[in-house]
């Protein structure tokens, strides 16, 4: 089943074309990677899908519904969650609060019910806390729920960001360089972890990643961007042997 589809999305900033005619299809349950050298426009593509940028051209569909011009919070509510390349936690708030905030979009109680601690709100709050603690446990963050989120070590902050994204009940999860700054052991754990959450939460995952070990290990398909243009698309094997990809990463061999 087709979850997410982008048709020729283009993003121009003034005269600069950051992404040109990007096409994407994500099928249910797939793990798909987006790779490319620095400045290739990968994060821009993410920002268009999540509504942070409005594409200059092209359309984006989520389960057949046009989401091109929706505000980011609406897109999240429909079921697309993301993490950020440079971690964006709510730094001064506790670990638990970070995850609880991501539950807020599904709240049914109104402001009045919340302030007066109406029974319905109390039940919702209890469920939110239970769900959040569960999520924290699943990502391996037990006994730190009352710590300030910025006090966690880097690797834990990354996992907290994923837990936070999962708390919005997504169907499609976009991970922006989840393995950035991780050592080989952590990277290996992360690879397993991504597969595991895909299965546990019935997710479709689209990720930007530089660690080829992660990318080649778990992605079913790979898109390669260079200077905003999609230069290759295929399974890991095809990508590894693609001449243009090798050139983009390693430069052109000069025979002269």
């Amino acid at each position: 089943m087709e979850m997410l589809r982008a048709d020729n999305i283009t993003m121009q900033f003034g005269g600069l074309t950051a992404v040109k005619d990007f096409n994407l299809v994500l099928n249910k349950g797939e793990i798909v990677a987006l790779i490319g050298p620095n400045g290739a426009g990968k994060t821009t593509a993410f920002n268009m899908i999540t509504g942070v940028y409005k594409p200059t051209k092209g359309k984006i569909y989520f389960k057949g519904k046009d989401i091109t011009y929706l505000a980011p919070h609406r897109i999240t509510k429909l079921g697309i969650a993301r993490t950020f390349q440079n971690i964006r936690l709510f730094k001064d708030l506790s670990v638990l609060d970070n995850v609880l905030i991501a539950n807020h979009l599904h709240i049914k109680s109104n402001l009045f019910e919340a302030v007066t601690r109406f029974p319905r709100y109390r039940i919702e709050e209890k469920e939110m806390i239970k769900k959040s603690l569960n999520l924290l446990e699943m990502v391996g963050l037990t006994n730190v729920e009352n710590e300030k989120s910025s006090s966690l070590p880097y690797g834990m902050q990354r996992r907290l960001e994923i837990a936070r994204a999962l708390a919005t009940n997504p169907e499609v999860l976009l991970l922006d360089e989840p393995a950035a700054g991780m050592n080989p052991k952590e990277t290996e754990d992360l690879t397993k972890f991504i597969k595991q959450i895909r299965d546990d939460f019935d997710l479709t995952i689209f990720m930007i990643e530089h660690h080829m070990q992660v990318v080649m290990g778990i992605s079913k398909r790979i898109y390669v961007l260079d200077y905003g243009v999609t230069i290759a698309h295929g399974n890991p094997n095809e990508i590894q042997n693609n001449q243009r990809v090798i050139e983009a990463y390693l430069g052109v061999e000069n025979n002269a």
Binding site: T50, V52, A71, P72, H73, T76, K77, A81, R82, F84, R88, L89, F90, K91, D92, L93, S94, D97, L100, I101, A102, N103, H104, L105, H106, I107, S109, L111, A114, V115, T116, R117, Y121, E124, E125, M128, N146, K148, R164, A165, A167, T168
Partner: protein, 355 residues
């Protein structure tokens, strides 16, 4: 533990009530008036802290909301006779001439109208960020003041209103201040409050977590305006006289001073700071008098005492950014640990919502 805190809170509240009873009946009018002002500034500080401290919106429109609140209660509670006396240049607009409401409904309407103004100004202005929002809201407050100066048959223009019944007493001011503290504590510790804090911390991340930025910002702004209107109303019925010149930027500045000194994002800090600032504004009045320093004599300069606050503000901003409390709150556990000089068992206890 929980039970102990509950008892401690109850006992302190009883003591507060006894103190208020004593102050209300036996203390001199000057002290009672300062206590009233302390409570009113607590309400105003909390309402501004909700917008600026908890939601992270830099708004400077508080004097405008207070002006709306003050004028609404003043016009509604003025007796028919005093209205005739006040409006001698031009008679008051007919529908308002014969109204004389009791205090509470007038106060409530003051809050509601101020909240509506907050909503109307917030909806377009909250699309702006940072300094631009500050300028837009500041402009709004000035516009309100200019409008009130020129609507002769409604607000009596620059002449102001005199003889507003002195309904505000310690029960009203402290009662509403206590309600405001309770409301803010419950709001901030609810899911909606967490959403506001998320917006303060990181707008982009908050939006990506599905929080409707616009809705929550307008909500915070409207609630803040509501309490600012009520604070303005209490002030009008305490002072007995209001005129548009009262609601200049300096009034907003006073409240901003309170929340910055107390800690942006702390209810406890705002309450403590409101009392300290209000009391010291009176205590430092001697600075406005002529001073003989032996070698030379300083002539009386009115407003000299505000220099102290300006210097204090500079020191806080430069060296002590978090203010008195930062984003921390009072809790009995922390308090008892502090006074018993024992090492705290756990850092960062949760605010229990009943200070």
């Amino acid at each position: 533990m929980k039970k102990r805190n509950y008892y401690l809170t109850t006992i302190s509240l009883i003591f507060l009530v006894i103190f208020l009873y004593f102050a209300h009946n036996y203390m001199d009018a000057y002290i009672v008036r300062i206590l009233n002002l302390c409570a009113i500034y607590t309400i105003l500080g909390l309402s501004m802290n909700l917008i600026n401290g908890f939601t992270g919106l830099f708004s400077l429109g508080h004097a405008g909301f207070m002006a709306i609140g003050a004028y609404v209660t003043a016009i509604l509670t003025l007796s028919v006779n005093s209205k005739i006396q006040n409006f001698f240049l031009e008679p008051i607009a007919a529908p308002l001439a014969n109204v004389e409401w009791p205090f509470f409904p007038a106060l409530l309407l003051a809050g509601v109208l101020s909240a509506i103004a907050g909503f109307l100004i917030g909806a377009p202005a909250l699309r702006l960020k940072g300094d631009y929002l500050a300028i837009a809201t500041l402009g709004f407050a000035e516009i309100i003041r200019v409008i009130f100066t020129n609507t002769q048959n409604i607000t009596n223009g620059a002449l102001g209103l005199k003889g507003i019944p002195a309904y505000t007493n310690l029960w009203w001011s402290f009662g509403i201040a206590a309600f405001t503290v309770l409301f803010m504590a419950l709001l901030i510790n609810s899911s909606y409050g967490r959403a506001l804090k998320a917006i303060r911390e990181d707008e982009i991340a908050a939006e990506s977590m599905g929080i409707n930025l616009f809705k929550h910002k307008v909500m915070s702004f409207t609630i803040g305006a509501f309490f600012a209107g009520i604070g303005g109303g209490l002030m009008a019925n305490l002072l007995g006289t209001i005129d548009p010149a009262m609601f200049k930027f300096t009034l907003t500045f006073n409240i901003l001073l309170i929340i910055v000194l107390g800690g942006m994002g702390s209810i406890t800090g705002t309450v403590i700071s409101a009392f300290i600032v209000t009391i010291s504004q009176e205590a430092l009045r001697f600075l406005d008098q002529p001073m003989d320093l032996g070698l030379f004599v300083i002539p009386g300069i009115s407003g000299m005492r505000m220099v102290v606050f300006s210097v204090l503000l500079m020191i806080v901003v430069l060296f002590y950014r978090h203010g008195l409390m930062g984003t921390n709150e009072f809790s009995w556990d922390k308090f008892l640990n502090a006074i018993s000089l024992k090492k705290p068992l756990s850092k960062g206890g949760k605010y229990n919502g009943n200070a």
